[in-house]
């Protein structure tokens, strides 16, 4: 596609969220009649980039040029009108409306001021056929469709808007192999029709099959652009990593990986289509990491241990004995002694308008009370201990927890569970959105707890953290453990290549790392 006139260009686009730099002078140019793949790790800025393109977020600086004219999109509707249509990772379908309603939702055909249902039906059927989903009934409600069918509806909806640039963000992550093949045919046909397609995927084999042009993002910048097929998988992984390694992690104890008796053990856990025969052990004093791309079943695994999922198959063993954990209340019970630091502290971890004191003692109230009456003195002692241990910076215990900084809020969530002295600690991406200083304190705390004998299972989307903190890392892909890395095997290269499943389906667990 060299020499083709770019249809759309982004120049010097920057975007910050608070102190976090999501995009830093990013550049991108898109040519008609080609498929352009965007690559990068979790948090490299890909999602922000397409949100800027699609008018969902406004950039702090930079220009966007469409057909030689500078454009600014105030809303997704404005971007649509200009011909830029995005299929987002989080689906944008309205669940209670029918498939046809959803397909025409941005611009329904009208007749005498009312929606023309016949025309709507026709448009929907055409769009579904073009998207390879002709078997979906236009009158079905979206909420009744399985995820893979919904994705087809998303694509049909995008096509009904007659896009010039179509952006697909992880559009195939929920699809089965047959559906993916169908979508690929559709995408290739659209390319022949002269559309510009932006394709964001973590699946290297898909990119190899589809893309004409690739751009790699890292830390909010585009670091390389090349014609598809001109670089090997390993070179691409190098491009995606390439950042300085920070020494903020406490030293790991030197010991054989298998010397600890397992405190927490899973045998062949499966749930719905999200977990697939997961087996693992976590010993006392061990920090076990969960790696892989976002959304490969890591969260569900933690929820499964914590008694949130129903219809779980397989076995969970505590201290070698099988247990049935039916609810979070059962999981935190002394016989299990489990704590979960949830991913979204604002909804699952804290009651924001309530005070720091109340939030801290929620999980431990049963231990602090006799016959339903809270022992205020004991509560105070324990709270003082925790505030000291975690160095929580707060103007007082009686101010709303929502007034604290993100890092201190997260410390409150952790302190709340430590008040129960849990033996098993599950952490769900606990450092997301907090500052480096607090992160460092959390790493040290984690190690301190492990040394005191806790078994820690730690999911993180940040590969540095997994390398710096964990004694062992399990890499998940499609709900199954693809690889187990122990000690020195935990390298960025090994984590990324197994997360992308580059070694193919038959890469068994415990293969030697290739770093």
């Amino acid at each position: 596609m060299d020499g083709a006139v770019p249809l759309f260009r982004m120049e010097g686009i920057s975007k910050r969220y608070g102190g976090v730099r999501a995009l830093e002078k990013a550049e991108l140019s898109v040519t008609p009649g080609s498929i352009h793949a965007i690559l990068g790790e979790n948090g490299a800025g890909k999602s922000t980039l397409i949100k800027v393109m699609a008018g969902v977020v406004a950039p702090d600086e930079g220009r966007m040029i469409l057909d030689g004219n500078e454009v600014n999109f105030a809303s997704p509707a404005a971007a649509n009108k200009a011909g830029i249509v995005c299929i987002f990772q989080e689906l944008s379908l309205v669940p209670e409306l029918s498939v046809a309603d959803n397909i025409v939702i941005s611009d329904p055909p009208t007749r005498f001021g009312m929606i023309d249902r016949k025309a709507q039906r026709r448009i929907a059927e055409e769009a579904l056929a073009r998207a390879g989903g002709a078997d979906i009934h236009p009158l079905a409600l979206v909420k009744d469709l399985p995820l893979s069918r919904r994705q087809m509806v998303e694509i049909a909806k995008a096509l009904a808007r007659k896009p010039r640039i179509l952006i697909l963000d992880e559009a195939t992550s929920a699809l089965t192999a047959t559906d993916v093949a169908k979508i690929f045919e559709v995408l290739k046909r659209l390319r022949e029709e002269g559309l510009a397609l932006l394709y964001i995927s973590h699946r290297m084999n898909e990119i190899a099959e589809l893309a004409d042009q690739c751009t790699v993002f890292r830390n909010g910048r585009n670091v390389a652009s090349y014609a598809a097929g001109s670089k090997s998988d390993n070179e691409v992984v190098e491009l995606m990593i390439g950042r300085e390694y920070s020494h903020i992690f406490p030293p790991k104890p030197v010991r054989a990986a298998s010397d600890a008796a397992p405190v927490l053990e899973a045998r062949k856990l499966s749930w719905a289509d999200r977990l697939d025969n997961v087996s693992l052990t976590v010993g006392a004093g061990e920090v076990v990491g969960l790696g892989g791309l976002d959304g490969q079943g890591q969260r569900e695994l933690l929820l499964a241990f914590f008694g949130v999922l129903r219809g779980l198959s397989g076995q969970i063993l505590i201290d070698g004995r099988p247990v049935a954990i039916a609810s979070p209340a059962a999981a935190r019970d002394d016989r299990v002694g489990m704590a979960l630091i949830p991913e979204d502290r604002k909804t699952e971890g804290l009651m924001l308008p309530m005070t720091v004191r109340e939030n801290l003692s929620f999980a431990a109230l049963d231990r602090l009370s006799k016959a339903g009456v809270i022992d205020r003195a004991a509560e105070q002692r324990l709270i003082d201990d925790m505030v000291g241990l975690l160095a929580i910076k707060t103007a007082g215990l009686d101010i709303p927890v929502g007034a604290l900084s993100g890092g201190n809020q997260q410390k409150v969530v952790i302190a709340k569970w430590l008040m129960r002295q849990p033996r098993i600690i599950l952490l769900n991406d606990p450092t997301r959105g907090i500052d480096v200083g607090t992160k460092q304190e959390l790493y040290q705390l984690m190690r301190k707890l492990a040394e005191a004998g806790a078994a820690i299972l730690f999911y993180s989307t940040d590969y540095d953290e997994l390398i710096g903190c964990c004694d062992k890392v399990l890499v998940l892909y499609d709900g199954a453990v693809k690889r187990e890395l122990v000690g020195a095997e935990i390298t960025e290269r090994a984590l990324i290549s197994s997360a992308l499943n580059i070694h193919g389906e038959n890469a068994g667990p415990r293969q030697g790392a290739d770093a």
Binding site: V56, S75, P76, A77, N80, F88, L91, S92, L93, V94, P95, E96, L97, S98, D101, N102, I105, S106, P108, T110, G113, M114, I115, R117, H137, L139, A140, L141, K157, W271, A272, E300, L303, G307, V308, L309, R310, G311, S327, E348
Partner: protein
């Protein structure tokens, strides 16, 4: 699946409410001393349409995942206003009707503006505006009184061709003129989409604000039609606090009975109408079976509880317990 099955699934709530109402009404008329006569139907219809109008109003707002606790007060306010204005010559009466309906529309528009542009929760905003509307009603009619154009009142509460209750015909006309166009317009769809998933609707470029605003404003209009009819039945205006509140609460009950989801995005005003008619028939049933009227709130509560429980069965199928709280 065939098309009609999808249609059936979509209309299930409405059909269920229709079925409940028909069953109750058949029991009622067969046990009524006079039986199924034009007179009995007319009385029942006149009692039923008041709540039906207010329930339609509530439906529009509930579809957007909001709630309007001021509908009963708009109903009361417009009743009081009509007892001053809907009187005199034909022209004067017509002007009065337009003014009353315009007032309802304005009340609804104020609710919508506060909720959408002021970003207040619907429940708080409409409690406050409801109190204001009732305050104005009280200033208009400190004591029950006033009068109405009786020719018009008798025509609209009487019978057409000696058999069909005129109030039912008006209800049907309002459905055709207000509800059907709204539900099939882009704005109506925006209201549904906003109620079902506001984020998805926004991401799809749906005119959410205009859709919600139209829903609130039309809700005010429908409540005003109800207020007008109340004046036609009673020939007076009465700023009765208890009655206004009762209509608000009963409208929510009727909406739920009619298969409209309080979570928004689902249901039809036609279902709510049958919900309202069914809810009204409970009282009549107690009457024909010689129950003390004291039993009425108890029975209405039980019926409502049963109807609401039916909707909760879906929770048994949830596999991720966190979804209980969504």
């Amino acid at each position: 699946m065939k098309d009609w099955r999808y249609w059936l699934a979509e209309q299930r709530g409405t059909l269920l409410a229709f079925g409940i109402f028909i069953a109750m009404f058949v029991i009622y008329t067969t046990n009524h001393p006079a039986g199924f006569t034009a007179n009995v139907v007319q009385t029942a219809s006149n009692k039923g349409v008041l709540l039906a109008f207010v329930a339609m109003a509530q439906t529009l707002v509930v579809i957007t995942a909001g709630i309007d606790l001021s509908v009963g007060m708009i109903f009361t306010l417009t009743n009081c206003l009509a007892s001053w204005l809907v009187i005199g010559t034909g022209i004067e009466t017509a002007f009065g009707v337009v003014a009353v309906l315009g007032t309802g529309l304005l009340c609804g528009a104020i609710n919508g503006a506060i909720v959408i542009y002021g970003r207040l929760q619907p429940i708080v905003a409409t409690i406050a505006t409801g109190a204001v509307y009732f305050g104005i009603a009280l200033l208009l009619r400190p004591f029950p009184g006033g009068s109405v154009n009786e020719d018009l009142a008798d025509a609209l509460t009487g019978r057409l061709f000696g058999v069909v209750p005129a109030s039912l015909v008006v209800l049907l006309a309002v459905v055709l003129v207000v509800w059907v166009p709204f539900s099939r317009s882009v704005l109506g769809r925006a209201a549904y989409a906003a109620g079902s998933s506001e984020t998805a609707a926004y991401m799809s470029g749906v005119p959410i604000r205009r859709g919600k605003f139209a829903a609130y404003a039309l809700a005010g209009l429908l409540a005003a039609i109800g207020g007008l009819f109340l004046t036609f039945f009673t020939y007076t205006g009465d700023a009765a606090y208890a009655s206004g509140n009762a209509y608000t609460l009963f409208s929510i009950a009727a909406v739920v009975l009619g298969g409209v989801s309080l979570f928004g995005g689902k249901g039809s005003a036609i279902g709510a109408i049958f919900g309202a008619l069914a809810f009204r028939t409970i009282g009549d049933l107690l009457f024909v079976f010689d129950f003390d009227p004291l039993w009425q709130p108890l029975f209405q509560g039980v019926i409502l509880l049963i109807a609401v429980s039916l909707g909760a069965f879906a929770l048994f199928r949830v596999r991720n317990r966190l979804e209980w709280f969504l």
